[in-house]
Symmetry: C2
Subunit: 356 residues, 2 copies
């Protein structure tokens, strides 16, 4: 099946075999040097296939980092800058980021700032990075464990999405990434929300990924710098992100991003029913579907103060108010609701009661 | 005297009293928080006057760094990011960079990357930063003493140029900054080159600064990302920059940037005479004027290998060729000349012979 390229602001997202698409791209350009950024896992699972296909034809160097969010930081980024310098990267060099969101976020930041900006390609290899990190131009690293404290808005030359990379991705990571797909359906496309209920996690239909990228792309191209409409993508993330951070600090086996966002989407659906126009039946439909996919996680009532403090500090909020995107129905949403602390805690208790 | 604002790409360079212009600017905006970045010297000489005028009316925080190029590095930059975070800077905050090129380069990089970019103002307080660093959108920091290894092209909201700041600037710094003014005359404006011969260093005519900014602005707006015509600004810098770096590493009292560029301009005028159309009389005129302003500095013949190695590594050069901008006459120039190693050394010997 041939999936159409998606036009973003000044670049394309293309779908298919990564090696073929990469060779196509490189034939049209003339780079002085080419660098792959990979992590421990994509070095093992994703790079070898590409290496085999481009062997000999396309000289390149490899920069490998350890996997995991804790490595998406300024120290590792300095290491990448220095490697680029040592390997002789100049302004006509290209960086190819082959990995999940950690590699694509940090590699794109390193490239966007090395010698005031060199070209880079994104080849996302996780479901999350394919449907979410792939478009929108956000680059970033963490400083002092503050997520994405530093970054830029810089577009890649191209994004290559090859769904076959997902075959080696652990199931738990797949399901985590699926939360963003659910979100895309909920905020703008009811038909899509109904369709994704039939997803097969072991063999994801590339059409699902394609539609998710298209939805995110429509939203971000309408509002590249997150002034208004792009905030729709925060749905589930105000509460979800707080729970994710708390879990990261307190749980031995912390929630993955999407697992926390799933909880956030249930809580924020409750708020949508209470304050926006979401009807009881649709609220039930959302909760039933999410609970059928995600494991139960009891949100500790002792965490409530920390959760609220986190939400107030989160960068999405200005003037100390806690900002929400809420649903009016499955497939329609509105930005810039403000809810009180009690209401927020009530919504988390609503989730806790569902999983009892 | 009222100097007209200069229009750059999406922002203005305005001339006059810094406090008045700052208040004007802030009245039209609505920032959540305001930060001044200063260094040891501008904290003492430039900030107090502004503080007096905006006192009470404009709440702000101050971030102070140690002065000097050795502080334009990633560690200090991380410190600035963290201070912004600790002081609660959000996406609607403003950073005002009040200082020389070190403060304006690093402060603009920190702002351009903090939370993916917040607004910043430039208030350059040295002659060099007023006539050179003020327009063109280059931000940057050094990593491992590699100059401007990391940076972005990001435009400020506005540049405020207040020539009265120069009254406290050491004479040596003034004369160093003047080299860029000479360069602007040489590369594009003969009439201006003749006019600046009458400069009074203790009381610089603001018109001279204004014209220099206008020249640089014309060049950089025609070529924002330094693909072609902007390379004209490298005149004197291929050789000058190498001498500057060598002096920095070897001399007890190293050359300032402009002092090295002055030597570079003489050497590159010699090359212009030999390879481009610069006539003997104009070559003499350039040398006489530069030597009348700058102290003699014998370039050590033992440094020649290092100088050539440096030029080859300099980011301006691709494919190991050493790239020059040369003059065809005073006021006209052409980019992308390549000279051999012997020719380059000959030009430095030419300078050495002049000062004997
Ligand atoms: N730029 C954006 O718009 C955007 C959007 C969403 C998330 N993000 C960022 O993305 C990051 C999370 O992305 P992620 O979930 O992809 O995390 P990740 O990059 O850490 O990948 C998750 C794990 O999967 C491994 N992996 C990657 N591809 C694999 C493959 N094909 N086979 C086997 N293992 C593989 C990785 O090594 C890692 O251990 C966060 O830092 C987040 O801030 C950015
Ligand atoms: N962005 C650009 O386009 C661009 C262009 C040229 C140079 N630069 C950068 O600018 C830097 C050099 O700039 P610079 O020469 O202004 O150096 P600088 O900022 O170090 O200033 C020189 C000295 O003067 C002091 N000073 C500044 N203003 C003063 C005042 N009004 N009174 C008294 N003392 C004062 C400073 O504290 C410092 O000690 C370099 O890092 C260079 O890379 C950038
Ligand atoms: Zn998310
Ligand atoms: Zn210079």
């Amino acid at each position: 099946m041939n999936l159409q390229a998606i036009q973003s602001s000044g670049y394309e997202v293309v779908f298919g075999d990564a090696s073929e698409l990469l060779i196509d791209f490189l034939q049209k350009r003339n780079y002085s040097k080419i660098f792959f950024l990979v992590d421990t896992n994509t070095s093992e699972h994703c790079y070898p296939g590409i290496a085999l296909n481009i062997a000999g034809d396309i000289p390149h160097d490899i920069i490998e980092i350890d996997n995991g969010e804790e490595n998406k930081n300024i120290d590792i980024c300095i290491g990448i800058w220095k490697m680029l310098l040592d390997f002789g990267a100049d302004r006509k060099s290209l960086v190819i980021n082959l990995g999940g969101g950690v590699v694509t976020d940090m590699g794109s930041f390193a490239a966007a700032t090395y010698k005031r900006g060199i070209d880079f390609l994104q080849i996302p290899t996780t479901l999350l990075s394919q449907v979410d990190a792939s478009v929108g131009g956000k680059t970033g690293i963490d400083v002092d464990a503050v997520k994405n404290m530093v970054g830029t808005f810089t577009n890649p030359q191209t994004v290559i999405i090859d769904p076959s990379f997902l075959l080696t991705l652990p199931k738990r990571e797949i399901i985590s990434g699926f939360a963003e797909i659910i979100k895309h359906g909920l905020i703008v496309d009811k038909e899509y929300f109904n369709a994704i209920k039939f997803i097969i996690f072991d063999d994801i239909d590339p059409l699902i990924i394609h539609r998710s990228v298209a939805i995110k792309n429509e939203v971000v191209t309408a509002d590249p710098h997150e002034k208004n409409i792009r905030k729709k993508l925060n749905y589930g993330h105000t509460i979800g992100h707080a729970i994710e951070s708390y879990s990261l600090q307190h749980d031995k086996n912390p929630l993955l991003h999407g697992e926390a966002i799933a909880i956030g989407m249930i809580a924020e659906s409750y708020l949508s029913h209470k304050f926006a126009d979401l009807q009881q039946e649709e609220l039930n439909e959302i909760c039933d579907f999410i609970l059928s996919v995600y494991p139960s996680y009891k949100v500790d009532e002792n965490s409530f103060d920390d959760l609220l403090a986190f939400m107030k500090n989160d960068k999405k909020n200005e003037d100390d108010k806690i900002n929400f995107t809420l649903l009016n129905s499955i497939g329609t949403s509105t930005i810039n609701y403000y809810c009180s602390e009690e209401e927020i805690l009530e919504s988390i208790k609503f989730y806790n009661n569902l999983i009892k």
